[in-house]
């Protein structure tokens, strides 16, 4: 294990409007037993404020990983994705799109907007936990991220 993780917890920004999913993702990360800090925002505007450390989020940390839901109220996930990926200061942050949709157009759109990966939320809770575990393994343990 990378000792860095133990010392400096990985910060994840979860952009998800459904509290049920927020909780489920938190539970899954908890089950993965990795030291991490999950910040969650419920809409696109808050997400951008968080990332730019504006307003209420002036003391926010730039996350190491973003988990993004596509269907958000107001400014939706696609717009958030496009905005982050066109912002030189933010575009290096890997974005995992985690959506209920298995529609090909959503998948294609996400990759076109430079999402780092697209995952459909599994209905089975065990699979869901498994997916979060894999995200954790891959993006946090295996992948070298820009610091």
């Amino acid at each position: 294990m990378n000792p860095k993780i133990a010392n400096l917890p990985i910060t994840i920004l979860l952009i998800e409007d459904n509290p049920g999913d927020v909780r489920l993702i938190q539970e899954a990360f908890k089950a993965a037993k990795v030291a991490n800090e999950i910040n969650s925002v419920v809409n696109g505007l808050d997400a951008m404020s968080f990332l730019r450390k504006e307003g209420d989020f002036s003391s926010a940390h730039t996350p190491d990983l973003i988990i993004l839901d596509l269907n958000l109220p107001g400014k939706d996930g696609r717009e958030v994705l496009a905005e982050i990926k066109s912002d030189p200061a933010l575009k290096k942050i890997p974005i995992v799109v985690l959506s209920s949709s298995s529609a090909m157009e959503d998948i294609v759109t996400s990759y076109e907007l430079s999402a780092n990966c697209y995952i459909t939320k599994p209905i089975d809770v065990n699979e869901f936990f498994n997916v979060i575990n894999k995200i954790n393994d891959f993006w946090i343990t295996i992948v070298k991220l820009p610091s």
Binding site: D21, E27, N71, S100, S101, M104, I123, D124, V125
Partner: protein
């Protein structure tokens, strides 16, 4: 436009009729005069159409009767007692005193008794004889139909003149009536054509409107299905996930019944989700043309067989695919079509290992593809039903699935302009046939 056209035809018609009346009146009056010994030849040369009188023609009957001015006007224009009057709108009278006749003696026609919009009238006057031809014509707006009435009248004169006048009037009236009949027939024909044209245009507009409406409602429906499928998935996932979480976390607090109940709830919710996903697939299947390209059916079948590798291996299926043509179609749709048909052929197998034959044959204006199996078969009474959404012939536990596959196939094929059907014998296999129009076949 239509109104304008009709008015124009009508005006031209009126002009023709009036011109004809004038010509006939002139010719007729010459004729009447020439056969009369009593008529001075000087009179003939002085016959003319009084312009002022024509202009004054719009005065009403009563106005003329009371108007000295009108009498003078008429008087000035009367040469040896002959007047040729042409009037568009109302029958007008002459100065009766000039002719030595009372108003009542002038053969007039009560135009108000007829539903007249326009009338042309000729009155021939000589010193002693008064004959009149009234032509009433008009347009019945309701039918719409052009109508013509010809009224002939003479008044006192010498017997010879009367006879001559009548002879002329009868013959000239016949000519006029014939001309007017031809005109009326042509007019009615034009009306008919115009109506047909307008009706044709109207129908074209209706068809276009309906098509637009249908396209819009189809789009709305597809959009609806898409939104429903998406938005319903999230709450369902919540139900399933949290029920499972309860089951996992509180296993020791739940008894066997509790766990069973949760399993039913989870199973139900999972099934609803499957149906939603299938419904989404179905709503997309008809969304032609997504993007059409040259699709090699051999490649599609090969890909499908790879996808179905596991079930082919498990069932020991033997699949024999003949050479299939390439067609212009949406790739995803063709893939779904073959995948559903082949997967069904494997799924609904009998005791024997599945034997599946895929073929295509050229027909008159279609190519016919077929996917034949040696499975359990379908009773004839269900040939149609199996293509409906969520229709299943077997219990879920025996043959899992929502029952959407064949309805997706049907939608894909109909989107290409073809048809799908089945021929089957219970316990002796089924063959699914589908056609693709030749214009879509590439080679």
């Amino acid at each position: 436009m239509e109104q304008y056209f009709r008015k124009r035809v009508f005006k031209i018609g009126a002009a023709i009729i009036i011109a004809e009346i004038i010509v006939l009146a002139i010719v007729g009056s010459f004729y009447v005069l020439s056969i009369s010994e009593a008529v001075d030849t000087r009179v003939e040369s002085q016959v003319r159409i009084p312009g002022q009188l024509m202009n004054a023609g719009h005065l009403s009957y009563d106005a003329v009767e009371d108007s000295d001015e009108m009498s003078e006007l008429i008087g000035e224009n009367l040469i040896d007692g002959m007047v040729i009057g042409v009037d568009y709108n109302v029958y007008y009278s002459m100065n009766p005193e000039y002719l030595g006749l009372s108003v009542n003696e002038i053969p007039t026609l009560d135009a108000s008794l007829l539903d007249v919009q326009n009338s042309g009238e000729v009155i021939l006057y000589t010193n002693e004889t008064l004959v009149s031809v009234s032509i009433i014509y008009g347009l019945d707006e309701v039918t719409p139909r052009f109508f013509v009435y010809v009224v002939i009248g003479t008044s006192a004169g010498t017997a010879e003149k009367n006879q001559a006048a009548q002879l002329f009037l009868v013959s000239s009236s016949v000519v006029m009536v014939l001309t007017l009949t031809i005109f009326a027939l042509s007019f009615n024909l034009i009306q008919r054509l115009e109506y047909d044209l307008a009706e044709g245009n109207r129908l074209a507009v209706v068809v276009e409107e309906r098509t637009t409406e249908l396209t819009r409602s189809n789009e709305a429906l597809e959009q609806f299905a898409y939104v429903i499928s998406h938005d319903l998935q999230e709450p369902l996932r919540m139900i399933v996930s949290y029920l499972q979480l309860i089951e996992d976390r509180y296993k020791d607090k739940l008894d066997a019944d509790g766990i069973e109940f949760i399993d039913y709830a989870v199973g139900g919710a999972k099934r609803v989700r499957e149906m939603i996903i299938d419904l989404l697939q179905f709503s997309r299947a008809g969304k032609q043309p997504l993007s059409e390209e040259e699709v090699d059916c051999n490649t599609i079948v090969a890909e499908v067989l790879t996808n179905l590798k596991i079930s082919i291996k498990e069932s020991g299926a033997n699949i024999d695919s003949g050479h299939l043509p390439s067609i212009m179609a949406n790739r995803g749709g063709m893939s779904m079509l073959f995948q559903n048909l082949i997967a069904n052929a494997i799924k609904f197998r009998s005791e024997k290992p599945p034997k599946i034959i895929i073929k295509a044959a050229e027909g008159v204006d279609m190519w016919e593809f077929s996917v034949a199996d040696n499975g359990i078969g379908i009773p004839e009474e269900h040939y149609k039903r199996i293509f409906d959404v969520f229709q299943k012939l077997h219990p879920r536990d025996k043959y899992p699935g929502t029952g959407i596959g064949l309805s997706v196939c049907k939608r894909v094929i109909e989107g290409l302009g073809g048809k799908i059907r089945v021929e089957s014998k219970l316990n002796d296999g089924s063959t699914f046939f589908f056609t693709v129009p030749k214009e879509r076949i590439i080679k």
